[in-house]
Amino acid sequence: MQYSSQAVAKPYFIAAIGLFAGQILFGLILGLQYVLGDFLFPEIPFNVARMVHTNLLIVWLLFGFMGAAYYLVPEESERELESPMLALAMFWIFLVAGALTVLGYLLVPYAGLAQLTGNDLLPTMGREFLEQPTITKLGIVVVALSFLYNIGMTILKGRKTVVTLVLLIGLTGLAVFFLFSFYNPDNLVLDKFFWWWVVHLWVEGVWELILGSILAFVLIKTTGVDREVIEKWLYIIIAMTLITGIVGTGHHYYWIGTPEYWQWWGSVFSAMEPIPFFMMTVFAFNMVNKRRREHPNKAAVLWALGTATMAFLGAGVWGFLHTLSPVNYYTHGSQITAAHGHMAFYGAYVMIVLTIISYAMPMLRGRTAANSNKSQVLEMWSFWLMTIAIVFITLFLTAAGILQVYLQRMGENPLPFMVVQDKVALFYWLREIAGLVFLIGLLTYIASFFVGNDEPEAKESA
């Protein structure tokens, strides 16, 4: 750690991991509710648990992104953070606001929460992933703006690198597109149309810039490959991301009342969305093969390669599976969508945050470059456990989805939704078992922070 203000990243990372654990816990509850329908009913109905599961995911990823920015921006800009105090203050505000929101979800019926927070004044609640009370949304805007100010000033006053520039563009885009969450017209089609300007342009747009820039930073640091090489790859990858991804939004506009030409535009462009992910995989492995040093933090390199691979599989391959409109006609809103969502989010965003945590945390905790071998071995175990678990979760959900589509939407005698759900229950059980393995992986991951701390640091081998 070269700059003392990088230390503000530490609470962000710790909070991220804590919320991650909460997300997984609620994931397991949801998985169980899929097979034992009355589990925790009516205390925690499915919709509440799901809201907690998805919102925790978003919030902890945001914590991770912010922590990543606070860690890498001073180092890249070669100066201290504009205001570490502001960063810490925003940490607590965001954490408390997030905690209050989740408590609100769990303790108050959702309609009551809507009333309590004055949703009628500016109704924005009750839309998927944007369930937060309007006041929380406003809080997110405030936190995002202070964060952008802090990061932006540091970047603009210091050395400007491609990594920080791309990160800044990504984070700015994140803040700008979030503003569409305040637009909630009565017209359902318009509502849905612009809802995707938040959701799609986040996860298949600006978030990928953030992902790319963090990955580039870690690769520069761990491989010792010339910055010029990595930065030009970063540019060309994110260029392809936005070239395909922006119009690729059209793959959400097939069946929501929007004109039918989107079936062509969306299919053609989103079919190309795997290309940048494929380039990212090639790029990451190439850089690691061309490495000029053997960085002692092997776990971080593993996470980086894992991100590139799993993002391609989850976002690229599983996305492509159902992105063409004739296929999507049958798979839209089925378990196939859920399968894709799980692997894409894990592969792209969970793993990149764990990558930067894995790289930065040893330094933030006083090591010079890496944890002890013992700790790293445990961390790598957790990598494989979680990654293999998510692969199986995805495969089981895909199997459930294929059956669901076949039984419910194809053939002469389509069966009702609930009948089909009973028929595919076996796969939901298997998914829940894989989910337990994921939890074991996560516990192993958390344990890796507590073992081997008194042992010597792993050394650069070459």
Binding site: Q33, Y34, G37, D38, F41, P42, P45, F46, N47, R50, M51, Y110, A111, A114, N119, M125, G126, E128, E131, V162, N184, D186, N187, L188, V189, L190, K192, F193, E228, E231, K232, W233, Y235, I236, I238, A239, L242, I243, I246, V247, G250, Y253, Y254, W255, I256, G257, T258, P259, W262, Y329, H332, G333, S334, T337, R409, M410, P414, F417, M418, Q421
Partner: protein, 143 residues
């Protein structure tokens, strides 16, 4: 030609390509918004429908159901509930009849204790939703 591609050109393609395709997306979006009146059933956006949408949101129905395929996959699609449940009466009767403590061992919709006016609004909202031109989706009545 020692260097196959340069950072400067990669940067130009990033900025140029992003602006270019964002403009294209804006153009298509503009066209979409201009032709939506023919597809989105806005003529039937009555007060009851607006109230129904608010109820739909304030009770987080999207947390279990899909509407035009978007939402959670725990409970049936509702974009065509109007057809599947046999009109407004069927919808209202179903929501009204949910047991307070659920159904042992099975998934159940919570009992929301809606008033008759609210039930009517929700049913109107689902009727309006079912009349949106969704390019023949879902493939059949089962959603």
């Amino acid at each position: 030609m020692s260097q196959a591609f340069t950072k400067a050109m990669a940067r130009n393609i990033f900025y140029g390509g992003t602006v270019f395709f964002f403009l294209l997306f804006l153009a298509l979006s503009l066209d979409t918004v201009s032709v939506l009146p023919e597809r989105d059933n806005r003529a039937n956006l009555t007060e009851a429908v607006v109230q129904g949408k608010k109820l739909w949101e304030n009770n987080n129905c999207i947390g279990c159901h899909t509407l035009l395929g978007e939402g959670a996959y725990f409970a049936p699609e509702l974009g065509n509930a109007f057809t599947r449940l046999g009109g407004k009466d069927g919808i209202m009767a179903f929501i009204k009849s949910r047991p307070v403590d659920g159904i042992p061992g099975r998934r159940s919709m919570p009992q929301f204790n809606f008033t008759d006016e609210q039930l009517n609004a929700l049913a109107e909202f689902l009727k309006y939703s079912s009349e949106i031109n969704s390019a023949n989706w879902p493939p059949n009545v089962q959603g």
